[in-house]
């Protein structure tokens, strides 16, 4: 198992390990080497030695592992790992895809309410990740205010039902269009910006939206938030007792009242939307507009020299991303039943960006996996919730070292002669 390659040198390894152990010993000496016992100080000289010994062995082990085949694949990557590979279009995985989709559709009928809500949250983040992936991953426009569109979507459902009497189903297209327009509105002032400047302006945009929601109390309810109605299914309501003239869902089907039905509905619709949006994004990527987005990411000047109107391309990327974000917002509002501006802080933008970066800029599958992992992992690790952000930061740092292009290598479709 431990077949090391020719580059491995025992002497070098031991020297490195001794150095590491020495540093560890010096480091731990003042920390664990002295014990406070009341007012007295006791020396515990053996402890730093033990720790240094552990460091010594660990350093040796790491040195050996990175020189084995397995270690190389895990840590170093293939010699020419570029993070991008060109593959022929294959349908080899389509039945796995079918299985996953089928599992996704039957999941809510066997799940507990708790895991159902976790799954809804995960899917919402998948949707957000897909949306931001278009803007950051494909078009290369670093957007730190993506949460603004999420907020626009959520509030357009909550306020739309309050002022316009919109239901869940009409709110979906309404929010999509509204969020897309907001995307275009943001797009205009930042047309001439790149990189850092763009990031700062979008960050500002996100904060502006949040502050408006927070301070325009008369319209948005301010910090008190706004309530979003429960979704309905063909006019059937999911509350215990229906409003006048309506029929509650459980009465209609002769079931006992339970709040799980509403989550099942939200989950199923959300899952469908996620499936459709995944397909749309995958396909857009292979269409002229998607290629233009990627070309814009690679080189805007070259794009213009090829007759591509960068204004249109940028605006369409912003609108497309914002639209998906807005849809996610509607589901979030419907799922929570109540929203307020504190759900739409910068931390949320950072989280979505982390999903896109971890998943690999531009890789749809990677983004989906990252979104699911980043929402489900904190649930599994409830005990460590204090360290959540720390773990997060560390995983980002490790990612940047090992896989700067994302967990999965990006795949580009090959175009063969016909």
């Amino acid at each position: 198992m431990l077949d090391v390659d020719a580059d491995f040198s025992t002497k070098q390894t031991i020297l490195d390990a001794i150095l590491a152990a020495l540093i560890a010993w010096l480091f731990f000496l003042p920390i664990t080497g002295v014990l406070l016992d009341g007012y007295a100080v006791q020396s515990a000289w053996h402890q730093p030695f033990v720790l240094a010994l552990i460091v010594f062995y660990a350093r040796c082990l790491i040195a050996i592992i990175v020189h084995t085949d397995l270690g190389k694949r895990l840590f170093v990557g293939k010699g020419h790992y570029a993070g991008v590979e060109v593959v022929d279009k294959t349908n080899a995985h389509w039945h796995w895809l079918l299985v996953i989709v089928a599992i996704g559709f039957v999941f809510p009928f066997f799940s507990s309410k708790y895991w159902l809500t976790v799954a809804i949250l995960a899917l919402i983040y998948v949707l957000l990740g897909l949306g931001l992936n278009v803007v950051v991953g494909l078009a290369g426009l670093l957007d730190l205010g993506f949460v603004a569109f999420y907020a626009v979507g959520a509030y357009s459902y909550a306020l739309g039902s309050e002022y316009l009497g919109l239901g869940f189903w009409t709110a979906l297209p309404f929010a999509a269009v509204l969020a897309a327009s907001f995307g275009a509105i943001l797009g205009f002032p930042v047309l001439r910006m790149h990189g850092d400047y763009l990031a700062i302006v979008t960050l500002g945009f996100g904060e502006i939206i949040r502050l408006i929601l927070n301070n325009w109390t008369a319209f948005t309810g301010g910090p008190n938030g706004a309530s979003a109605p429960l979704p309905t299914l063909f006019g059937l309501e999911f509350s215990r007792r229906a409003k006048q003239g309506g029929t509650p869902f459980h009465d209609y089907f002769g079931l006992d009242y339970s709040t799980i039905y509403r989550y099942i509905l939200i989950y199923l619709v959300l899952f469908l939307v996620v499936c459709v949006m995944t397909m749309v994004v995958v396909r857009l990527r292979q269409m002229p507009i998607g290629r233009a987005w990627e070309a814009l990411r690679e080189d805007e000047t070259a794009c213009r020299s090829l007759g591509i109107n960068h204004v249109v391309v940028k605006l369409s990327a912003f609108s497309m991303g914002a639209m998906v974000g807005g849809l996610a917002g509607v589901f979030f509002a419907a799922y929570q039943g109540f929203i307020n501006p504190s759900s739409f802080t910068f931390f949320e933008s950072a989280l979505i960006l982390a999903i896109v970066v971890l998943g690999g800029l531009g890789s749809v599958v990677g983004v989906i996996i990252a979104a699911v992992v980043l929402t489900i992992l904190p649930e599994l690790l409830r005990e460590f919730s204090d360290y959540r952000v720390l773990i997060f930061g560390m995983s980002m740092v490790l990612m940047m070292i090992w896989r700067p292009r994302g967990l999965l290598p990006q795949r580009r479709q090959a175009f063969r002669r016909t």
Binding site: R283, P288, R291, E298, A302, L306, T418
Partner: protein, 294 residues
């Protein structure tokens, strides 16, 4: 005449990069632009292709017996006459809002860059497909639904792309990432990417820089093919004199932002002002002395 540059000037703050530059580019001919480093050749290209807005002067492109003002496409500043001429005002407003260098390309002027600007993380063939963007079926719905018309348009684009790849000998590189191709191949890819926009005039900025003599000769051959078999007009910046003298029909020499000589290869080779510009002061004195002797 396909392109005419008249009294063009370009200033960057105090730096005068181009001053009173005038020359013409004959249709279906190869015109070369030479000059020492920093003479303003690239700046001139950037003006012609709409990446810089010239400070003064005119660039006229002749198409279907029509003279088109290239600078107008970029959105010229308003002048007071506009406000008494509503049509003129609307036109100007339109180009102010929707103009830009991409319109110059759509007019039929394509270009390459001195330092290669490929879409490095996309495959070679995708680079060529992006270049055909304006000729493709870009309807989102028919694309999402893979309609017949969409498939046909993609198919045609693919054929066109393979045509150019084969012509330039890059057929085997079609599905490799552009950024990972050898340097010479990248240079060629950039040229055929420009060709995929179906231009009338192609502006090549030092295509032979960094190529070995063999590759340079092949490139010269390729440019000839473009000009002769595809009726393309070529405007070429090049430091490789061998190549310039071999393939050019006309040479324009630029120095310190001014045109110092125009003419055929032989005439340029003998021109004392050109020799002086290239070989420095010493020769200037010699050239002067020679002229005095005559």
């Amino acid at each position: 005449m396909l392109l005419e540059v008249k009294q063009l000037a370009m200033r960057f703050g105090g730096v005068v990069a181009l001053d009173n530059v005038s020359f013409g580019v004959e249709a279906h001919k190869i015109t070369s632009l030479i000059g020492p480093n920093g003479a303003g050749k690239t700046t001139l290209f950037n003006c012609v292709t709409g990446f810089y807005q010239a400070s003064a002067g005119e660039i006229v492109f002749y198409q279907n017996n029509q003279a088109i003002d290239v600078l107008e496409l970029l959105g010229k500043p308003f002048i007071w006459q506009d406000f008494v001429n509503p049509r003129q005002l609307l036109r100007r407003l339109f180009f102010k809002m929707l103009g830009g260098s991409h319109r110059v390309n759509r007019l039929g002027i394509a270009r390459t860059f001195q330092n290669i600007r490929l879409f490095r993380d996309m495959t070679a063939i995708e680079n060529l497909l992006v270049a055909q963007h304006q000729y493709l079926n870009r309807n989102i719905l028919s694309g999402l639904l893979h309609s017949k018309g969409y498939q046909k348009s993609e198919q045609q684009a693919l054929e066109q792309a393979y045509y150019w790849l084969d012509l330039s000998g890059l057929g085997d590189d079609a599905n490799k990432l552009a950024g990972q191709l050898p340097y010479g191949h990248q240079k060629r890819l950039e040229i055929i990417r420009a060709m995929c926009t179906q231009p009338q005039l192609i502006c090549l900025d030092e295509p032979a820089a960094g190529l070995n003599p063999n590759e340079t000769a092949e490139l010269g051959e390729f440019i000839r093919i473009l000009q002769q078999q595809h009726q393309i007009t070529v405007l070429l910046i090049e430091h490789d004199m061998q190549m310039v003298m071999d393939i050019s029909d006309k040479i324009v020499v630029l120095d310190h932002g001014e045109v110092i000589a125009t003419g055929g290869p032989e005439a340029i080779q003998k021109n004392p002002a050109v020799l002086a510009a290239y070989l420095g002061e010493e020769t200037t004195d010699k050239a002067k002395a020679e002229t005095n002797n005559d």
